[in-house]
């Protein structure tokens, strides 16, 4: 599973897949904690001031630290610039960090990443592997699971440990049901929704770094990777969301909502109805086919509260709804609901 079979790889240059690659010392005795540790794939994102640990990765390291008495392993992909992140990762709770510094893996490729993480799982034999349910995580995790014949619980919102066993909680049927699921084989695998666990405090720590040599068999023919033109804000980070639905009949109300949002330190999101009209970008859509948010306060203006929408805002702290239809479903799960015209209330808030 090292991906180097056939001796095609110059760095490892061996046809014995079980030989330890250079940089990996026997002395670390990596198997000491066989099947009680947890491995986390930590995604790294490009920030304005260099690489940054993605929130989902940080959250999962924190969660793993609390779930196991064993070791917490993390794997990161990237070049030497990631060295600046080591201390932070150890601070979050990582014991052993695998840094994959293969040039051809600096560009994301689901097939190669899955192969590589699988090779690490063969080496470490962790009890569980946790991966953020990000767009990448959601396609890499199943690829690993099927390759290795393992069970996978997708898109969990909660994790509990019963010894080495993980109980994974996830919503089903558009958020109408919560199911507790377990994997019947080790390593257990789960993808976990971003925001399900608190991000651990930033601190610097120390631990072991291992350069993991891995040469992928499959290199994708990628023609271009273009960053999406977005202002960089993400509705998933907002503490307060002003969310607009089809009850917003006048497009200028979006500007009013933006103005209110600036005043109160909120962001503006929407239901699918406004994305379909072309009034709001998809990146602002809350719901099953949009983003999953969990702000402290969710203000729904002119949103009916269809299950597909609800699935994306289920875990909001407090829900306040303004909808002029007393029978709209949103009223039945809001903490506070106003039977009023959404536009009028927004304008009044803007004037305050």
């Amino acid at each position: 599973m090292s991906g180097c079979e056939g001796g095609s790889c110059s760095t490892c240059g061996t046809d014995d897949p079980n030989r330890l690659p250079p940089g990996m010392l026997k002395a670390y005795d990596l198997n000491q904690s066989t099947a009680d540790g947890i491995l986390v794939w930590t995604e790294v994102v490009e920030g304005p001031d260099g690489p940054r640990i993605d929130d989902s990765g940080a959250e999962l390291i924190g969660a793993a630290r609390n779930l196991t008495d064993g070791r917490v392993f993390a794997v990161v992909f990237g070049g030497t610039e990631l060295k600046s992140l080591y201390g932070r990762l150890f601070g979050y709770g990582v014991d052993t960090l695998y840094h994959v510094r293969e040039k051809s893996l600096e560009r994301y490729s689901p097939e190669a990443y899955a192969e590589c993480i699988a090779s690490l799982m063969d080496r470490i034999v962790p009890a569980a592997v946790l991966i953020g349910a990000t767009s990448r995580g959601r396609e890499v995790a199943p690829r690993i699971a099927a390759k290795m014949g393992l069970g996978l619980t997708a898109d969990c919102t909660g994790l509990r440990a019963d010894g080495r066993k993980l109980i994974m909680t996830r919503p089903a049927f558009g958020g109408n049901l919560m199911a507790d699921i377990e994997c019947t084989k080790y390593p257990q695998m789960a993808t976990v929704r971003p925001g399900s666990f608190p991000r651990p405090e930033d601190s610097e720590g120390q631990g072991t770094v291992i350069y993991w040599q891995f040469c992928p068999e499959c290199i994708k023919d990628v023609i271009s990777d273009e960053p999406m033109e977005e202002d960089g804000s993400d509705i998933r980070d907002a503490k307060v969301l002003i969310s607009l639905g089809d009850g917003i009949r006048d497009r200028s109300l979006i500007d009013v909502a933006e103005s209110v949002a600036r005043k109160i330190g909120a962001q503006v999101s929407c239901s699918r109805a406004l994305v379909e009209k072309g009034w709001m970008p998809r990146s602002r859509q809350v719901g099953m086919s949009g983003r999953t948010v969990a702000p402290e306060i969710y203000l729904a203006f002119g949103i009916s509260g269809a299950v597909q929408h609800r699935a994306g805002m289920l875990r909001s702290g407090k829900v306040i709804a303004v909808n002029n239809d007393p029978d709209a479903p949103i009223h039945s799960f809001a903490d506070l609901s106003f039977i009023a015209d959404a536009g009028d209330v927004l304008r009044a808030m803007d004037r305050e």
Binding site: S135, P142, E182, C218, V222, D225, E226, V307, S337
Partner: protein, 258 residues
């Protein structure tokens, strides 16, 4: 070229509700072709050229034939129903294993294996990538558009922060993300023609899989318990005619929670 499209019949979760006791009301909920799969099929029908063949397949109970029938009406050429009592209760892995075995045995030569982004009845789009891994082919997730480029294809994929354009080799798995909601579905003109197109049935034995490789027994995850989500919110309803008063109310709430 041959296109193989995986589709699923799902309960219409839009119609699903929770009763006063918090139990899921399933009775009377109509079964539909998974909307994402319908969109994926529409995309395939859009890029098909004369001489191409579009094959749809589903794993499900006998009544899932209705979903296949709809695909035929939309313009698919033939359909396979992978059905067997032993398939019941399959998790992602057991589903992917059966679908991969089906593909290997029945349509090993397709130019593309096309999937929807997710089934609306609970799963979150894992099946396509497990199938891709089992077939050992490349995968193209979150595809928003697909164009022919000679013998291969170009896919544009939406990774959220990045939009990727990549070349799709023959035999890859492509899963469509949310496609243009305004893309019109093909009309059901072909109803009469479609009646002649057969739905072939394939069972466990035909797939060459043992009883312990499929369905609940072949699954690697187990549901321990489920709980319906009851609204635990304390609902306060305020009917207000003066919007300024409502705005005040909301602003006070916002202050209060700082």
């Amino acid at each position: 070229m041959r296109f193989a499209v995986a589709v699923k019949q799902v309960p219409d979760t839009m119609e699903m509700s929770v009763d006063e006791n918090g139990s899921l009301v399933r009775t009377g909920v109509p079964a539909i072709l998974n909307p994402y799969d319908e969109q994926a099929l529409a995309e395939v029908l859009r890029i098909r050229e004369s001489g191409d063949e579009v094959v749809v397949f589903t794993m499900g109970p006998p009544q899932a034939a209705e979903a296949l029938r709809r695909c035929l009406e939309l313009g698919a050429d033939s359909a396979y129903l992978i059905t067997d009592r032993a398939f019941a209760g399959a998790d992602v892995y057991a589903t992917a294993r059966a679908l991969a075995a089906f593909i290997t045995g029945n349509i090993p030569d397709a130019s593309l294996y096309v999937f929807g982004r997710q089934a609306i009845d609970g799963d979150t789009g894992q099946v396509p990538y497990e199938v891709a891994a089992l077939l050992d082919v490349q995968q193209f997730a979150y595809t928003e558009s697909l164009e022919r480029d000679g013998d291969s294809f170009l896919a544009v994929q939406d990774y959220g922060h990045v939009r990727r354009t990549a070349r799709v080799p023959k035999g890859s798995v492509v899963s469509f993300g949310t496609v243009d909601p305004n893309c019109p579905l093909p009309s059901i003109r072909g109803y009469l023609e479609s009646l002649g197109r057969p739905i072939k049935e394939v069972d466990r034995v035909a797939l060459g899989l043992g009883v312990y490789s499929v369905g609940l027994k072949g699954s690697l995850t187990r549901i321990v318990s489920t709980e319906s989500v009851m609204s635990t919110r304390r609902n306060r309803r305020v009917e207000i005619s003066n919007p300024a008063t409502a705005a005040d109310f909301i602003m006070t709430e916002l202050e209060g929670s700082r």
